[in-house]
C-alpha cells in the first residue's frame, strides 16, 4: 500500500541501510500468548495465538488484518525513520507516532479496499463519526480483553493532557487527530464531488491522499525525537506545496489544536462549533493560512519515552519502577523507590 501511494518507490526495511537485503520474515504462529510484535534484530513479524479465559476457540492474531497491518506498519516506519525506535532523545510522542502509524496503517489499508469503504459508507450513512469498523482497532483481540469497541478506537476525542506517556496511550491522540481530518476532508470532498463520484470512491481517494500526505510528512520529519507538532507542521507545508484546498489545512490546524498538539495564534472554533462552511474550499479561520504552528508545551516534553508496554528500546532503569527524580539525581534507591512507586504515575502527560 505505501509503495503504491508513493508511486512505486521502494520502501526499504531498516536493515537494508547496513547492506542486508534480507526479507521481513512473518511467523503466523510464533507461539502461545496474546501478542504480536515487530523485531528488527530478527527481521521479523511474530504473531501469536491464545484462548481467552471465557472461550474455547483460540484467537489467532495473524488472522486480524488490523494487527497484521499494525505490526507491518512498525516495520515500514522503522525503514523510513530508523532513529525513531533506536535513536537517542526520543520523547513519548516519538514512540506515540510509531504506535499511531501502526494503527493508521490498519485504517488506511481498510480504506484502500473499495468493498470495505462501501460497507463503511452504508453503515455510517456517510458520517465517519458514527460507530464503524474502520475506526475500531483489533475488535476480536479487544473483545477477548474486555474492550467491545476494539482495543483502541481512532474515533476518539483524547487530548494530550488526558493520556499518559505510555506509547500506546499517547498514540491515540495523534491517531484521533488524523481520523478527524480524514472525516473532515471526506465530508468536504463528498459535497464537492457529489455530482461525479460515488461516496465510497471519494472516501477511497481521500484516504489515499491523506495517507500519502502523512507518509511524506513523516519522511520529512526529524530523524530522532520527532514530535506530533513536527509531523503536523510538515503536513501543512506539504499540503500547501501540492496545492490542496486551503480548507484541508484548516481541518489539520483545528483538529490538532483541539488535541493540544499545536497552538493556534487565533482561536479555531468554527469547525468544532459547527460554523465551518464545508462548501468553501478556501475557508481559512483567522484569515491566515498558517503553515507553522508552535507545539503545545507539556511536562512530558522532557520526559523519558515510556515504551514499557511496548518494545524494549528505551528500557533503561529510569523508565522502571523507581522515582525518576531519584534516578536522575543519581541517588541511591530505597525499597520504597523500588517497590512503592506506581510506574504509571511517573511520566504523566498531564498539564
Amino acid at each position: 500500500m505505501y509503495q503504491r501511494i508513493r508511486g512505486g518507490q521502494e520502501l526499504p526495511w531498516a536493515w537494508k541501510k547496513t547492506g542486508d537485503n534480507g526479507p521481513l520474515t512473518v511467523f503466523p504462529r510464533a507461539g502461545i500468548t496474546p501478542n504480536a510484535f515487530y523485531s528488527r534484530a530478527d527481521k521479523a513479524l511474530k504473531f501469536f495465538f491464545f484462548t481467552p479465559s471465557n472461550a474455547t476457540a483460540p484467537v489467532f492474531t495473524c488472522r486480524s488484518l488490523d494487527i497484521v497491518a499494525h505490526e507491518c506498519g512498525h516495520a515500514v516506519l522503522d525503514g523510513l525513520q530508523p532513529g525513531w525506535l533506536a535513536g537517542s532523545g526520543n520523547s513519548p510522542q516519538t514512540g506515540g507516532l510509531h504506535e499511531s502509524f501502526g494503527d493508521l496503517t490498519a485504517l488506511f489499508l481498510a480504506c484502500s479496499q473499495l468493498d470495505q469503504v462501501e460497507a463503511a459508507i452504508a453503515l455510517t450513512k456517510g458520517n465517519l463519526h458514527n460507530r464503524n469498523f474502520l475506526a475500531a482497532m483489533a475488535e476480536q483481540f479487544g473483545s477477548a480483553l474486555g474492550f467491545p469497541q476494539g482495543l483502541r478506537n481512532a474515533d476518539n476525542d483524547l487530548k494530550l493532557s488526558q493520556v499518559s506517556n505510555e506509547v500506546h496511550a499517547i498514540s491515540q491522540v495523534f491517531t484521533g487527530g488524523i481520523y478527524d481530518v480524514l472525516a473532515d476532508i471526506f465530508t468536504f470532498e463528498r459535497q464537492q464531488q457529489a455530482a461525479t463520484k460515488d461516496p465510497a470512491r471519494v472516501l477511497l481517494e481521500v484516504a489515499s491522499k491523506l495517507c500519502k500526505l502523512l507518509v511524506d510528512a513523516i519522511v520529512a520529519s526529524p530523524p530522532t525525537g520527532a514530535t506530533y507538532a513536527d509531523v503536523v507542521n510538515r503536513m501543512l507545508v506539504i499540503s500547501n506545496g501540492q496545492n490542496d484546498p486551503p480548507i484541508y489545512r484548516t481541518f489539520i490546524r483545528s483538529r490538532f489544536a483541539f488535541r493540544e498538539v499545536v497552538v493556534s495564534p487565533t482561536p479555531l472554533n468554527a469547525l468544532l462549533e459547527g460554523r465551518l462552511n464545508f462548501e468553501d474550499e478556501s475557508f481559512v479561520e483567522g484569515g491566515k493560512d498558517v503553515l507553522k504552528m508552535d507545539a503545545v508545551k507539556h511536562r512530558s516534553d522532557g520526559a523519558p519515552q515510556d515504551r514499557s508496554t511496548c518494545c524494549g528500546t528505551m528500557q533503561r532503569p529510569e523508565y522502571t519502577l523507581a522515582k525518576s527524580e531519584t534516578l536522575l539525581a543519581g541517588g541511591s534507591l530505597s525499597p520504597v523507590d523500588l517497590m512503592g512507586a506506581d510506574s504509571s504515575t511517573i511520566p504523566k502527560a498531564s498539564n
Binding site: 510484535f37 528488527r40 505490526e71 510509531h98 524494549g312 532503569p317 523500588l338
Partner: protein
C-alpha cells in the same frame, strides 16, 4: 527479599502485577532458590531489542543481600532463552501458582 514481577506491554499495552512476594513467606528452600534465580537473571541482563510491541517483564528486587534492583526480561519468543527460562523458574517460585 521483596520480589515484584510486572508484565507489561505487547500489542495490547498490558500492565499487570503477576507476583508480589516477600521471600520470608516462602519455605527456606524456595527462598534460597528464588535468590539463586534472581542472581541468574541479574547475570542475564542485556540490551533491550529494537522493535515494537514486545511483552516485557519488570522484576523489582528490594531487600536481601544484593543491591536493590530493577531487572527486565523481554520476551522475544526465542527458543532456549536463558533469561526467559530463569524468569519462568522465578514465577514458578513466587507467582500465583506457587506452593503454599
Amino acid at each position: 527479599m521483596q520480589i515484584r514481577i510486572r508484565r507489561r506491554g505487547g500489542f495490547a499495552g498490558l500492565d499487570e502485577t503477576i507476583a508480589d512476594v516477600d521471600t520470608a513467606a516462602l519455605s527456606e528452600d524456595d527462598a534460597r532458590r528464588a535468590g539463586e534465580v534472581v542472581e541468574k537473571l541479574r547475570a542475564e541482563q542485556r540490551a533491550p531489542p529494537v522493535g515494537a510491541d514486545h511483552v516485557r517483564y519488570e522484576i523489582a528486587i528490594a531487600g536481601g543481600a544484593g543491591p536493590h534492583t530493577n531487572l527486565t526480561v523481554v520476551d522475544e519468543a526465542r527458543a532456549n532463552d536463558p533469561a526467559m527460562s530463569a524468569l519462568i523458574d522465578l514465577i514458578a517460585l513466587v507467582g500465583p501458582a506457587r506452593k503454599r
